[in-house]
Symmetry: C2
Subunit: 403 residues, 2 copies
Amino acid sequence: MIEDLDTELDKVNVEAIIITGQSTSGNPSLTYVCGCNIPRGGLYIKKAGEDPLLIVGDLDIGSAKKGLVKNVLSSSHYNYLQLIQDHGIDEARIRMYDKVLKELGVEKKIILSGMIEAGQAIDITRRLEQQGYEVLAEPDLIERVRRTKSSHELDLIADVANKTEVVVRKTLEMLRNSSVSGDTVQYKQTSLTVSDVKAFINRKLVETNLLAVHDTIFAPGPDGADPHNHGTPERKIKTGIPIVFDIFPQDISSGYCFDTTRTFVIGNASKEIKTMYEDVAVAQQTALDQITAGTDGQVISKSVCEILEKRNHKTPLYYMKHPGMAMEEGFIHGLGHGVGLTIGEMPYLSFTRKSILAEGDVVTVEPGVYYPGKWGIRIEDTVAVEKTGHRNFSTLEKSLELK
Amino acid sequence: MIEDLDTELDKVNVEAIIITGQSTSGNPSLTYVCGCNIPRGGLYIKKAGEDPLLIVGDLDIGSAKKGLVKNVLSSSHYNYLQLIQDHGIDEARIRMYDKVLKELGVEKKIILSGMIEAGQAIDITRRLEQQGYEVLAEPDLIERVRRTKSSHELDLIADVANKTEVVVRKTLEMLRNSSVSGDTVQYKQTSLTVSDVKAFINRKLVETNLLAVHDTIFAPGPDGADPHNHGTPERKIKTGIPIVFDIFPQDISSGYCFDTTRTFVIGNASKEIKTMYEDVAVAQQTALDQITAGTDGQVISKSVCEILEKRNHKTPLYYMKHPGMAMEEGFIHGLGHGVGLTIGEMPYLSFTRKSILAEGDVVTVEPGVYYPGKWGIRIEDTVAVEKTGHRNFSTLEKSLELK
């Protein structure tokens, strides 16, 4: 939580943190500390133990004042235009940073954060070092602060969850109301394609004020066998074949995300598909049953692998024993990841890393199995970890056959 | 152009460039060199004078192979999972980088690029330095390469331009077909709000495969006086008041962007508004007339300021003479910026920086004037600079009164 920022700064023993970027868009650290959208970004500087200062261009003063930072100043207060004119943009930036840091009485140890070009981060660091500052490498500090969601943030995530599930329900309803000719699904007299379904989903997302920044996965049959295939647009929707429907939109106003996956078959599923679906469903339920503060995500991941291996699926446990072998079939990704202002953040539920769950964590739980040339099956919920147990934001039923 | 990458590497005398990031989304440098969308990003390494190598997770091999890089390898080729298990993610990354660099025979001077957390860029740099590499700070190298668009890129931008203008035309058509009650615009028996118009625009964008990553500006009256106000959702659309309609979507498939603004009044405009519109239109035409390879963007910007000052608007020239004064009214932003895989890149047409236009540059030309409490007026085209003159991608008519 934002209240933890001072504690984290204390832990690494720095005097101040600078967070910057050309926009809050795509810049979760800056969005988080500013608590609002600032189109052209800005410069957030917080001295440890003191209130932060936010410097933005004149154009963004109005946007910036809607956020969490009380002390908002214009860059014209620092004659930024004249500095650029006299010294060029790279040096002008450092002169402004230096002036602000000196005014705050910051002398040496600082952290630089925010989503920026790597080359720019290096340039800023070198120039600050020339001015006598020591810039610590702290890649995860703000992500650690962001990890624990406040009750207000949980409300915002619940809101995105509700909106997203409305979109999913409407999409499944449309598919349920379609007719079938042979093994091809028809809607309004024509064969339905992935592209048609996505257009439907996108219209519903827009109506709900959601943005699919990274698109949506609607992957029938072989498309679904690659966990990152978003669905071949011209592929016709057929009966009897698993379709992976993974949707992870962001709320345009709040910036918070939600992530959920259901896999289903239109019409009847074969025994092979039913068995695999059951394997994944059992694995997911076993994982969910363990989600509570204090549990290790690595332990949960391993138990999921063990269940799936017993049911004859390869998993990371298998691949670790066979180095160099490409992970192409079975369970071939992590079990889950944090969700908040991004759809991939701390904590990560992975078989490679210890990760003790804590109250306020929001994570996905998403086992899946993949068989190239055939299909994929994945079931995903997003849950908030509580002191005892968890709150599941996903309320969509888990049933294989859509009838 | 991508062909210029070796020339740029030569100029700064480095052996190799590393471009990385967690995704190509929001990471134009990585998108550009890969020439495709890679959901989980990857590691692009190019030794000067040689073909590049792209390393991605197993899941992204399929996506990566659709792009420009012929030599695509899986991170499992480097036992990346085991490295993470043994050394943690930050050190595992460096061990893989080091192995690849050594295999390529790179010994010392390298560049790091890509949109990543500043703290991570610093961490990677420090660790590479410990391994004996020298990491140069080159914030703009890839942006310089991206600046000159190939004819294929110009085609892609022309395509986004066409699609965007279809959306604008449909929106204006809807407004033209609305009725008026008193000074309030009605559509289907209810008062039309900014929110209604934006919902209409968003539906049309979706239908056209465009994504408004940074929203759309539809800013009537006082909203338009702040160049970055996107429009108050509940504000009713009224006649006789300037509305700034600035739309800058990205094509979901190609990643290329377009940017255009029209300002219009529904019904009749007052004499004051007509005069201001004429001021901006004349300023824009004067700027457009100068757009050709070899001209300095700073000179064009100054000529626009001079025209607007003669017509009694404050401009950056005025504010430069009054340091510390907030830029709140008149012409208060740059004249234009490059457009490509982002909606803000080189070259910048600014009164603070010299910037010689070159063939293949794609830039906006967008003077505007703003009067707090009243309205804003801005007209924006996006053009490609040619050896002689330019190609204007914007074909929408410029007329103030929508009737």
